[in-house]
Amino acid sequence: MTMPETIRAAYVIARRDFTATVFSKTFLLFLLGPLFPILMAVMFGGIGEQIDANRKPPEVAVIAPLADYQALAAARERLSPLAGERPFVTLSHAPPTGDVERQRAALLNDDKVERIGVLDGGLERPHFTGAVAADGRTVREMTMFVDEARRMRAAAAPPPQGAPMGVTLTDSSSGSLALARKLVAHGGQAILFILTILLAGMLLSQLIEEKSNKVIEILAAAVPIDAIFLGKLFAMLAMSLIGILVWTAAGAAAIAIWASGGLSVLPPPAVGWPVFLALILIYFAMSYLLIGGVFLGIGAQATTVREVQTLSMPVTMAQVVIFGLASVGVGNPDSSEAVIAAIFPLSSPFAMIARAAEQEALWPHVAALAWQALWVALILKLASALFRRSVLKSGPAWRWPWQRKSAV
């Protein structure tokens, strides 16, 4: 059968799979899929903020003369801009009663106040007692307060109030750009990873549907097995590209509407947004064809849904490892890890999309795409042979190594 005939047959199968998926109710769920994690993030973020808002910072009692306490409180106040979102521990004054040991124990065991520790000894011989980590945040904060209080006391007066520091904001700097591009690199990788993991599972399910419907026999009698294989792969690819377009458009619209500054708030990738988006699509297609081809070949070995589920686990783990390999090089695209990830065919699309975010050169992408295309052809050929062997029981049956052993 000639290549155009194979392509025609693949188109017929792809068209069927595509329409069956896109015009099904479940496709709406697929499109809405990315909304769920966002909604969850918003929901849990809101709950987290509420919890944070309700949470009072822990208290440390200071057994010291009033002057020492006031010096510590002033030091705390002076340092408070450094505290960020999580405020410093609060301080409360406990005038010394004479028996420090007993007073300390009483303060630590007082159920009425959420007290985390006690500082005694004043500024001369400060000593902290409490149920905290020795090098933890509370101890570090208290050390800082004591040091600052001593410094202020040594200066005998508050430092002179000069003119406040002037602030000029720039759009970018080398540091901010590097950070932004790193974020874009991680984001691009995450998008590719989530999409391929999602689609690989769907591809396996489709294969099982085909097997359980017994349609595969009708297909195989009419068209070459390569056409079935390609048709299924490309139908899913087309479906996922629709998803990507919808999600990208929705995301861009959301940013344009809600983010001040609109789309310009997005950190620019090194190759620029248009090229980067095009590369995301191309690398996604490559990644999908590489991993999808492997999955389809492996999935064809399964005869039941249960077997598919069993196979899905190691396959998903393998994807995570591949993703991990590619993420190592983010931030340093010329490192040996990044180069290895770019050369290893299955991680190459992930590594290269990160490179596109961080480096301007386009020629590595041309080389990488040629390399990936070569592997796509090789893997599709191998997977197609596996598919034919197992789905149609043509030729010797595939056996796992342990099955081969037991069969002897």
Partner: protein, 315 residues
Amino acid sequence: MGESRIAAEAHELVKTFDGTRAVDGVSLSIPAGSISGILGPNGAGKTTTLRMLLGIIDPTSGTRSLLGHERPLEAAREVGYLPEERGLYPAMTVVEAIAFMGALRGLPIAAGRRRAVELLDGRGFGDWAKRPIRTLSKGMAQTVQLLGTIVHKPRLIVLDEPFAGLDAINQEKLEALIRDEAAAGTTVVFSTHVIAHAERLCERVAIIAEGRVAFEGAVDEARNRLRPIVHLRTRADDGPWRSALPATAPRIAGEWRFELPEGGPEPLLKALIDGEAGIETLSIERPGLHDAFIAIAGAAAARAMGQPVAGEEAV
């Protein structure tokens, strides 16, 4: 491709699965324009032979040709195939399912839809057109698949156990459809383990048992391999006339049953009359395909097919 007198041909086809020979050197040829049957018990190798002929699987050894093509898929546009395990997409409508099967065989989808409607209307099933496959009964779904098999007007139709799962009325309709297609010049090949269908429809049969072709030829040729069977009832239990009957002829429920002797009916009749057998009834029955099948494929194969074997009580 010029018109060939042979629609499909297999030469010494062998198929081995995991060291087991499912098909062991099958050779057969299907004349163009004929209705041919492939008979054999379950597991005889019928389906595997058909799958190899159609190019769904490759033979371990041997050659095949389909409508003159050594690579069967090259003839796919001119072939219709109904597999033993029926399969349709449950969510598809009837028209789409038929059109899709046509599209697989090269029929443009729009033409396929039109033709599907014609086929459905022509059989009084017009109201099925928009129904999803999942809402159809098994018999209806099978009919839809059959229409999908012929939607692209193939030159060769291959049906694997087409009567399985159909009730008597639908079996009759299917027989009519096969006759109609053959009358239009289409070659029809079907496998079955129900010999009655083959006997009613086929001009030629191939009998496959244990992966081998035990017989291939015209139905009459198969039947002529056996001598006619004489059924005789006599008033006398014994006498000189007995010498005209084979010594091993059994008498079951008062009826003698034996193969017509070489000399034919006249010497037998003369011997019976002269020997005063007192003929009550005498009939000479031409053997059916069932008897020929048993004789050719062996009683074991017949039993495997659930067919009654002479001298054994039906269970």
